[in-house]
């Protein structure tokens, strides 16, 4: 599934990232295949979403999250 289809409370592992101009920035922020990501809360109307990875919290829009393929692990 894709990261934008996840729900609060899920934990997922990143499988791959689609090509986009944002890809290198996402990778720099630690979104590397194999990284564990927890889905935290979301802003009003459900977008953007807050994630926890590598012991820190990162917010991103669902449009950008749709470029990240993940597998649920919990």
């Amino acid at each position: 599934m894709k990261l934008d289809e996840t729900k609060t409370g899920m934990t997922v592992r990143i499988d791959s990232l689609d090509e986009s101009t944002l890809k290198q920035r996402l990778m720099t922020m630690g979104l590397i295949p194999g990284t564990r990501v927890e889905i935290l809360n979301s802003a009003p109307m459900g977008d953007p979403i807050a994630l926890r990875l590598r012991s820190y919290n990162l917010a991103m829009r669902r449009d950008d999250a749709a470029k990240i393929h993940v597998t649920q692990i919990n």
Binding site: L22, Q24, L26, N41, A43, R61
Partner: protein, 636 residues
């Protein structure tokens, strides 16, 4: 001995500025990096008889030169070889923080790794073995507790004692660098090479983490609990409005305004009369007396009045920023701002725009993309800043005495609506196709360091004071000259002054809007210098006694309105033309100070010119619509 040069580098939100402030105190100089709008902070201190010059590099996640900050850091290391580079690392977020560390190591920069906020890391279940970390990198590792001076002072000993040549990158690091060189030589596409390199860096980080760091789950942290309320769902918006309301109350009602009143009182009741008296006694020429009293003291006093407000507002903002709450504001506002063609991060500068456009325009530098930055800067001037409020309050009281508050509120709404409309139009035309993204770290909530908050507020407020002070000073002299002189020299009769000439030339433009008197034209012209000048110009030109023009409170506004209605002004405007004039005043050109700030922030005369022309055009069309539609509907 020569001066020891130390550079601080690290990610945003690592407490780097706090450490810098603790090291250098007030002995720091804040300037600008050449060609960009990024603060350059340098401080010189002495320790153990050695002069140490510390430079605080902007916080960055990498040195890939994608943003201005990254460009600055990357260029700095290309052009300078500081004696010591300290990499400040947020220990509670060590994995991602080490990305920059690894990248710096690849560039052959010897580092001291300073782990900050170890106490917080331990509360989050993260234990770091400093000895093992030192071995893994082959570089010295130190630690500090963000707000403790003692631990930060200890760093100074490290600076003066450290001999960087005693350290060599470990085998692990050398292997990694070798791997990077191989990827670079692989002949893959440039983007692919970069991605492989990023992955290799995190591979190395994961390896080092497994050797030197243990991470246990710590359960729900304070940040998690607060975010469940402050950054989650609809409740977050309600709380945000409450927090901002409180901030504006503090700035404008509880602390800022009372202080401003004291300053204003001092100018009006002490400084101005005593200066006038002193000049009269010592026989200073009449024109000089008039210049000093009516020009300089009146003009500069008007600006000094704003200083306590601005400082209090900046103090509140710096405090909120230091707690980490500002990132949540951007987060919860993004859904709304995105629909207006902006990013959630634009909310902060725009909220400031209701106080003053100058810091609002400066604040736009925090935004991610060129598109977000430019749109935010270009729509800020439509918002109702403090200086426009007297115009709206006065006209509303004069021509809509039964509905004054509603009319003023409607004008705020007109400003917001036009700002949103223009953001959408600019986003779909001039900046079409450019990206707008929202990728934002939500740092843990922390109690901000008092010294850092004070220094930050002082620094921002000082910038405003100097900029506004110099420009308003020059402008006051100019308005005084224009309204007191004509081609024959000094004149008592303002109707023949240069200002009247400019005003009547301006007024021809406003014939279709119905307010084509030279007085209105002159008020609009001086308003380009400063919006505060609109009301005072109108007051002077319609011959009201200067002391009678005051809009500080509802009663005063009411009295001023009554005084002015009795003059020719009562006949010069109808309710409809007054409304058109208010709409025009609300929307047209940013003031001179704001225009100068736009030039500085966009690094372009062209964008400054555009901001002037397009806001005037929008204001002209909007006021035309108000007047013409109003007339069709039978109002007058």
């Amino acid at each position: 001995m020569s001066t020891l040069s130390v550079a601080l580098t690290g990610n945003p939100n690592t407490g780097k500025s706090t450490i810098f402030n603790e090291l250098t105190g007030a002995r720091q100089k804040i300037g600008n990096w050449p060609g960009v709008t990024v603060d350059k902070k340098v401080g010189v201190i002495e320790h153990n008889g050695r002069k140490i010059s510390v430079i605080d590099l902007p916080g960055t996640y990498s040195i890939n030169a994608r943003s201005q900050e990254e460009q600055v850091v990357s260029d700095f290391f290309k052009q300078n070889k500081p004696d010591i580079v300290v990499n400040i690392i947020d220990a509670s977020n060590i994995s991602r923080n080490l990305f920059l560390t690894v990248q710096l190591m690849e560039n052959g920069i010897p580092l001291i790794l300073n782990l900050n906020m170890m106490d917080e890391a331990e509360r989050h279940g993260i234990k770091i073995d400093m000895k093992k970390l030192e071995a893994a990198f082959g570089m010295p590792v130190t630690n500090t507790v963000g707000r403790s001076n003692k631990s930060v002072r200890k760093l100074l000993d490290v600076f003066t004692n450290a001999v960087m040549t005693n350290y060599k990158p470990s085998e692990l690091i050398n292997e990694h660098i070798e791997k990077i060189r191989n990827i670079e030589r692989s002949g893959l596409a440039a983007a692919k090479v970069e991605e492989e390199i990023i992955s290799a860096r995190y591979d190395l980080i994961d390896k080092i983490m497994s050797q030197a760091v243990t991470v246990n789950s710590a359960g729900k942290t304070l940040t998690d609990k607060l975010d469940a309320v402050l950054a989650n769902g609809v409740s977050s918006l309600v709380l945000m409005v409450a927090i901002f309301y409180l901030m504006f109350q503090i700035s404008f009602n509880w602390i800022g305004q009372p202080l401003a009143d004291l300053v204003g009182e001092f100018f009006d009741e002490t400084l101005a009369p005593s200066a006038a008296e002193a000049m009269a006694e010592s026989g200073v020429a009449d024109w000089m007396q008039s210049l000093v009293s009516d020009g300089i003291i009146a003009g500069v006093g008007a600006v000094i009045n704003f200083v306590p407000l601005i400082f209090t507002l900046f103090l509140c903002l710096s405090f909120l920023d230091g707690t980490g709450y500002m990132a949540r504001v951007a987060f919860v506002m993004d859904p709304i701002m995105r629909r207006a063609g902006l990013s959630g991060k634009s909310i902060m500068p725009l909220v400031m725009g209701f106080g003053c456009g100058v810091p609002a325009i400066m604040g736009a530098r925090a935004l991610d993309t060129h598109k977000d930055r430019m749109i935010s800067i270009l729509v800020t001037p439509f918002l109702t800043c403090n200086a426009k409020v007297p115009i709206l309050a006065l006209f509303a009281a004069m021509f809509f005495p039964d509905n004054a508050a509603n009319i003023v509120f409607a004008m705020y709404f007109v400003g917001i609506a036009v700002a949103i409309l223009m953001a959408k139009i600019l986003g779909a035309t001039t900046f079409k196709g450019q990206e707008s993204t929202f990728l934002l770290e939500l740092p843990p909530y922390r109690l901000p360091d008092v010294k850092t908050v004070l220094l930050e507020a002082w620094d921002k407020g000082k910038g405003y004071l100097i900029k506004a002070g110099t420009i308003i000073f020059a402008m006051s002299v100019m308005i005084w000259f224009l309204s007191n002189f004509n081609s024959d020299g000094m004149t008592e009769d303002m109707d023949t002054s240069y200002l009247a000439g400019i005003g009547s030339a301006m007024s021809t433009v406003f014939a279709p809007q119905g307010f084509d008197t030279w007085e209105a034209g002159a008020a609009i012209a001086t308003g380009i210098m400063a919006k505060e000048a609109v009301v005072s110009t109108i007051g002077i030109l319609y011959g009201a006694d200067e002391d009678a023009i005051a809009t500080d409170s509802d009663e005063e506004t009411e009295e001023t309105a009554q005084t002015l209605l009795a003059t020719a002004m009562g006949g010069a405007f109808t309710p409809l033309t007054a409304l058109a004039f208010m709409v025009f005043s609300q929307l047209y050109s940013p003031c001179m100070t704001a225009l100068g700030t736009i030039k500085k922030e966009t690094q372009s005369w062209k964008w400054m010119g555009f901001a002037f022309v397009y806001t005037c055009a929008v204001a002209w069309v909007a006021s035309l619509l108000v007047y013409q539609i109003g007339k069709l509907l039978g109002f007058e």
